[in-house]
């Protein structure tokens, strides 16, 4: 619906606007004029420091312009000035909710330039387990804070209870709770402590039951569905044009997941064994590609990650966890782009080397950055009250949009 149509529908007066459910919504005839509203930089719904300049006409949003850069830390420039391994802790800090996945993306990109380097199988499986647990932790935040944005307080505490357990698991394996630097070039930093893998298995069993609670509590909650269905619709065409990836793309009904369709590490074996299912949005509660679909995909992905973790736990065997990597890494000349499936979409690293100890280019393609760009097109024509629900559904991490 264009802005003019939407405006016309909203000021119909006695006839009212027809909602997708068939009900009629009545609005008073009031004269309105353009107003600019600054949302942020300190607004709880922006999930960090980001400013969105909303142009409104009464209750109607006629334009939205995100202003980024408040958290810009020059990650790419730093990448050209520190040694290969020294850059690893910086990768933790762009998408700080999925630091394991960032470590993995960077390590895989550097390893793509080192053809002789062999990664031990145990390291690959521990990497997969860590990446998938981190995916669950990241989606728990997406799920919890999205409820919070809309006014549902309880799911947030439920989500953080389970996330706390995941953080404790990571603390046991690498000593850090948020910025891990655990997945290294050549493997992982150290082996899992005794009993760790069993605890991960126990976590999977408990989490599976809790997952059903989350689903009943928020995802199919009547009030929540009313707030999120049919708003912020991204059609497939628009999703592709804007280069959306991850749950934002799958929420629009596009069946694509890098882990299954362009597999890296052991994901080919996992998907051949049938342990990797890719949930996509189906428009069950409203239009395909609406805010509800995107949350639905994320919540389903948490459950599917459990199957991947269980497959890895079943096939893991003792062995070395770090390949033959020198203390000071020298990378052969070359350049590579490697993209992996992060919780928020495709995290791409373009690295190039001239054969020395330092990268000549270290480009980071953060999924939040491209996923946020769609906001400029998605917001016009929506109601101001829905804007928080729409921004929340993009699930951005500002550390990654700004890098």
């Amino acid at each position: 619906m264009t802005i003019e149509q939407q405006k016309g529908a909203l000021t119909l007066g006695s006839e009212g606007r027809v909602l997708p459910s068939g009900e009629r919504e009545f609005m008073m005839d009031v004269s309105t004029s353009d107003l600019e509203v600054n949302m942020g930089p300190q607004h709880p719904a922006t999930h960090g420091v980001m400013r969105i300049l909303l142009r409104t006409d009464g209750e109607l949003v006629t334009g939205a312009q995100p202003h980024l850069g408040y958290l810009h830390r020059c990650a790419e420039k730093i990448g050209e000035n520190v040694e290969w391994l020294q850059y690893l802790p910086y990768t933790d800090r762009y998408d700080y909710l999925a630091a394991m996945n960032n470590n993995l993306g960077y390590s895989l990109a550097v390893e793509a330039l080192m053809p002789g380097l062999e990664i031990p199988r145990r390291a690959t499986l521990i990497r997969t387990i860590c990446a998938e647990i981190n995916r669950i932790a990241s989606h728990l935040i997406a799920f919890g804070t999205y409820g919070l944005d809309i006014g549902a307080f309880t799911p947030f505490f439920y989500a953080f209870r389970e996330r706390e357990w995941i953080q404790a698991l990571f603390e046991k394996i690498c000593g850090a709770r948020l910025t891990y630097s655990y997945i290294r070039i050549g493997g992982v930093f150290n082996d899992a402590p005794p009993g760790w893998l069993q605890e991960v298995g126990h976590f999977c069993d408990v989490f599976e039951q809790k997952w059903q609670e989350y689903y009943d509590l928020l995802v199919v909650n009547h009030v929540f569905v009313k707030r999120t269905a049919d708003i912020g619709v991204i059609p497939e065409e628009m999703a592709l044009d804007f280069g959306l990836t991850g749950p934002m793309l799958r929420g629009s009904g596009v069946d694509f997941d890098l882990r299954r369709d362009m597999p890296y590490m052991v994901y080919k074996e996992i998907s051949d064994a049938g342990a990797l299912k890719v949930p996509i949005g189906r428009g069950e509660m409203g239009t395909l590609g609406d805010c509800w679909d995107r949350l639905f995909v994320r919540v389903q992905e948490m459950k599917e990650s459990l199957a991947v973790i269980r497959w890895c736990l079943d096939s893991i065997e003792p062995g070395p966890v770090l390949g033959d990597v020198p203390k000071v890494i020298k990378v052969p000349p070359g350049e590579a782009y490697v993209g992996i499936e992060n919780p928020r979409g495709e995290l791409g690293h373009y690295v190039s080397s001239d054969g020395g100890k330092v990268a000549t280019r270290c480009r980071v393609r953060g999924p939040s950055f491209t996923n946020l760009a769609v906001l400029e097109d998605m917001m016009p024509g929506t109601l101001l009250a829905d804007s928080v629900a729409i921004i929340g559904s993009t699930d951005i991490v500002v550390g990654e949009t700004d890098r």
Partner: protein, 171 residues
């Protein structure tokens, strides 16, 4: 399709501006060649980049519907050229293509890809402010991550770090 098949297809449809393919090669001590590792890519004439991208997007066998990444590199501080990189992805055919277009530093401008891929809009803004590249035809060429009054292009190799910003010393 693998890289070879994509390259053959590009040749077969006579993709405009296609120049060469660069593939990884083994090091060779006799020829003093250090080799190259990583991914293959194609080089394209920067003047025809928009036509080239349009062909990549619209050809049914290539089907590159998504522009994943757009960035640039400055290979050498004393070099004459900047390279603009494009990373395309086809979700239906499940393949990727890396594209490189070299432009001179003295006249760092290239046609904007926003008309072909909307995804290019923010990437080009970032690329423009970081490397000082002008994207001709970009609808909104403001800075995106840097402040509007920032001087210099930080990701260029010859960039000199500022000693102060708006009266705040950073030494």
């Amino acid at each position: 399709m693998d890289f070879q098949a994509i390259h053959d297809r590009l040749r077969a449809i006579e993709a405009p501006g296609l120049q060469a393919a660069d593939e990884p090669r083994e090091p060779n001590k006799e020829k003093k060649d250090p080799g190259r590792s990583g991914n293959p890519f194609v080089t394209v004439d920067p003047a025809r980049i928009v036509e080239f991208l349009t062909v990549c997007r619209d050809d049914s066998k290539l089907d590159f519907r998504i522009l994943i990444d757009l960035t640039a590199t400055d290979p050498k501080a004393d070099g004459e050229e900047l390279s603009v990189l494009f990373e395309l992805l086809s979700i239906r055919k499940k393949h990727r293509l890396s594209i490189k277009a070299s432009i001179p530093k003295s006249d760092a401008s290239i046609q904007s890809a926003t008309a072909v891929y909307r995804a290019a809009q923010w990437h080009e803004r970032e690329c423009g402010e970081m490397y000082g590249i002008t994207f001709v035809g970009h609808p909104d060429p403001r800075n995106i991550l840097l402040p509007d009054d920032w001087v210099g292009y930080p990701l260029r190799k010859d960039y000199e770090f500022p000693t102060e910003y708006n009266g705040i010393s950073c030494e």
